[in-house]
Symmetry: D2
């Protein structure tokens, strides 16, 4: 049984506690730490099998019984806590993004050098049954050489304006998942990004300096062209689809829904909406990503998503911001 510590028990921290307790064998959470840990949260954590809770994350870092640390705190703390955990000899699972500052991601990279410690970034969608199936079809050559990669990624509703202001912008907060997905499906890096974006959902988002609707074109290293379309608000639910077109065919996936029930009536033939939010859609994927992390530690194999995989989507996000600002295609090599 591997002992884990978890730092940050906000929304995503709770997701990990839930998925580990119900979906991950071979690992338990010894300690969950959060400076704002309420009594209610502590009680809930214990009911989910967490041994102890704390307000001091050093109770996790300095505990010799804890093998690995999950960093689920606010984005600005990801890289500093990563460094401390690495120094303490812990394996690290870090929520995305590692940092908005490329140089600090490189510091994490440098700190890992030679330690033999495992580091995994939390791009959970790679573990989703649908996206896995697309990647498998591409990697196995079933569709030939990839030529066009399309990702639709739309949230059911925008985050609060307070969050928008500190989120780093849509590209680093939301699209970053899609940037990772493009790399996962293409099997290579992007070399250039062009953004066409707008503020169409809520004027308050525009006033906060961000966009909420975008079509993003990417040139991939292997010659394929990728395109992502994003919206902060799809009234019909969480829209998460992908399609890869190649020389021998196409693979595509559609949304998941709560059931396959279809009602035919005078009004039409109506199926259920997509699952409404990421917790419903990706709960299995969250379990599988931690299982993969645990397995990498136990087996000594590379994690499926290392620091380099954490860096690239940040570079893509920064290039996207530059493209939007300068209204031109931006090469990834212009960044960092």
């Amino acid at each position: 049984m591997m002992k884990l510590g978890i730092i940050g028990v906000g929304r995503i921290g709770k997701v990990h506690i839930t998925s580990i307790s119900t979906r991950v064998k071979d690992a338990v959470i010894k300690t969950a730490a959060d400076p704002y840990m309420s009594e209610e949260t502590a009680a809930w954590a214990k009911s989910m099998g967490v041994e102890r809770t704390s307000k001091d994350y050093m109770d996790v870092i300095s505990d010799p019984e804890i093998d690995a640390v999950l960093i689920c705190s606010s984005t600005d703390t990801h890289s500093p806590i990563s460094l401390k955990a690495i120094q303490a000899g812990k394996h690290v699972f870090c929520e995305k993004p590692i940092d908005h500052d490329v140089s600090r991601i490189r510091e994490v990279m440098a700190a890992l050098e030679g330690t033999g410690l495992k580091y995994q970034v939390g791009f959970n969608r790679r573990f989703d049954h649908n996206f896995e199936a697309v990647q498998r079809a591409v990697a196995s050559g079933k569709i030939g050489t990839p030529q066009i990669i399309k990702i639709t990624s739309r949230d059911p509703e925008p985050p609060g304006i307070d969050y928008v202001k500190v989120s780093g912008g849509m590209f680093l907060d939301m699209t970053i998942h899609d940037f990772d997905m493009v790399r996962f499906l293409a099997g290579c890096d992007a070399t250039e990004v062009y953004v066409q974006a707008a503020n169409l959902v809520d004027p308050a988002i525009g006033e906060a300096g961000d966009v909420d609707t975008a079509v993003i074109t990417l040139q991939m290293e292997n010659g394929a062209i990728a395109v992502i379309d994003n919206s902060r608000k799809a009234v019909y639910g969480y829209d998460q689809r992908a399609e890869v077109f190649g020389s021998k065919g196409m693979v595509s996936v559609s949304n998941d829904s709560a059931s396959s029930a279809v009602i035919s009536s005078e009004d039409g033939v109506t199926a259920e909406k997509p699952l409404h939010f990421f917790l419903e859609r990706y709960m299995d994927a969250y379990g599988k990503e931690i299982a993969a992390f645990v397995d990498a530690i136990v087996s000594g194999r590379e994690t499926p998503l290392n620091v380099e995989d954490g860096l690239q989507p940040v570079l893509m996000g920064l290039a996207a911001q530059k493209s939007l600002k300068e209204h031109r295609p931006v090469r990834i090599s212009e960044i960092g």
Copy 2:
């Protein structure tokens, strides 16, 4: 150019005039006859390319220029007019059913003997793109030995009560198409019928002595079991589906709709209803059945649906009536 005559210009007669004028090359309608031919109908027929109209069907039968006759009049006249047309040396296309009286169908059979004339019965659904695809999959062995055959056949709304009273009952009027389809898909005859039926749609149908809802089980000669479900009223439109399950797999077809448009909204994910009625769903099939009839005459090959194919569904319908009355499985050999 083959010259056709059409007897009966009610609903189905008009369907044939329309489909021949727009979908059948190599044939024109010289004369359309109907005792109740109105001026309006006559004008419409001419606008569709019919050369002349008449109130006397003998103007069709005795015209030496007319090669073939389409009998679209009321059911009770099908076999008598068939006999007259055969006597006059005409090829005959006859709407279903040839007769409710088996002995009169056998008279038509006898009259054809040795004449070399072509006779085709109007089971149009065999020419529908979907059902053709199912039959092709079965006949080509793609699903192995057929084991279970399922047909869903539901009308969008019941006929008027006046029609119900003279229709011969749901099994001979509506299910007869499905009886033909079962034979088409199985590639053999039925040996036994069992009916579970009820009057659930409209009490007036029950008062008229008929049922409006049924599940009909059939034992097929080749060992397969078939099941038909019928309703006189599907509020969502004309429901026409089939599925054949066999030792190597299953083939199934769904309904056609006006477009593939799907609207995702807060209310769900809504596709279009099935095409509402047989005119929309089967117009292409009507054209193809007449083209096949013309082709059989020209090529000298057997028609795809001969008198035997007209007889068997009537036997099945009469067995179904007996099964309903006696509440037991009835062998086809008990009839006629």
Copy 3:
């Protein structure tokens, strides 16, 4: 935390141990008993969180700490162990069928009388997301008065011949789930059964005195007609669908698959096969049925599937056997 005991650790017993350990909060398995408990099975059970294992099921029955017993042993032991557990004051979850002998089911019913103990039968499919959605649509009136109920239930491969011989026949072993489903969807009992069945999959099944293919028609108390089609072998996987047609529309559900991936190539547009077996398809449902059982005990509410719900499908199965033998529709009231 409710303490459960489990009797019988064969295939279905293992399913329950797995689902309880990963999907059911508020309950743990204290003891798992099986006369043939191997060391390997015992070790596996412990790894899944079972506290102790035993070869004597009385270690479950007589343990005062155990609140409720899950009977997962062979069918012939279901009712005797039920009676002992009830005598010992335990709540009982019993796998289907309670017994093939109606009088012994009635003994269980009598034993429960006045005890306040909960008894639940293991018709897991009622807890499947798809079938739940159909039932909800029907119960909420969305499709109006139910008129035709259709269930397709086909196994991916037949059981071994040794099992076939002791299974009680396809109707009591396999179709019994569908009989329950028909009652669940119709919201009422069946009054009559008619069977058309055959031995088409494997001659050895026929030699063992059983059928492997069937179409079963049922008259329901509320006027609806139901039809079930069964096969012991669908080469494309576990085929589990349902459709309810009513005066205001239709609700239908299709199969689940591992992902929504569709590959378009020169060979066609190919989706994944249905999930291959009941473990994959119904694992969530197994968890939900035990959670519902635990909840009924805690809340004092009736279980969703009581002894009466265990009795009715057995009556339907026996009527189906009689219908097959006597080749006629059989009323449920003729049984027992």
Copy 4:
């Protein structure tokens, strides 16, 4: 009966002759002219109901009995023949594009001024049942304000290299249909185009100076962002889909296939490929566009696609060429 003349009896000319003879009432083709008219083609045209054939297109232009002219000749002759036909007082239906030279389109526009003659451009896809349904959903407000418009348009195979060389490039030859579709669905013009394109299908296309794969982003006047993805070769057939996403929902359409047959086997669940080429997919649309043209002449209403509608996609195509060359977003106003 309106009398039409047709100039150019190559592939598209034959499409129009076929669709007019089978799908358009109220119009006949009096004369079909083509400088390369073979005896075979002339015989075929007559069998389809064309009264006479000629090698001189002036036999169409100068015939006082002919009300309207269909220009189906090579692209470079579209605008000169348009001008002659207008001078001769004929209504004109002109295949796309009117010209690659914007100034010559403006000449046609000027020539029409004050004549009262109807002019329609051949963007047939607007008359396709699926795209019509999308447009209707958008125009009726069902999806709210359009925000993202997506068009997938992929040919089953590239044209011959000889044609590629004279085609004007993929954007003016193939994408031009999609540019029209974007305007049709958005209900407004584009203001800016950005192209990411490549030569991935066949090196010979690249050697001929053209691309064969592209993702094209467009800024629309109403604020929506549109994206088109093109390939010259989709091995699974003609891929023609669209999706419009808006503030109240999304409407999308999928491909048409020859039947809805789905075969479930050990290999998967396989549906038919999309209809393979534009003749199969759009034959109904070709009939409807000519019917609309005839109707505009008869009723005196504006044609659904006037010269302005012919001009805009050419501007978009030229902007796309410039974007590809200069690797930057290009405003439509920079062209012409």
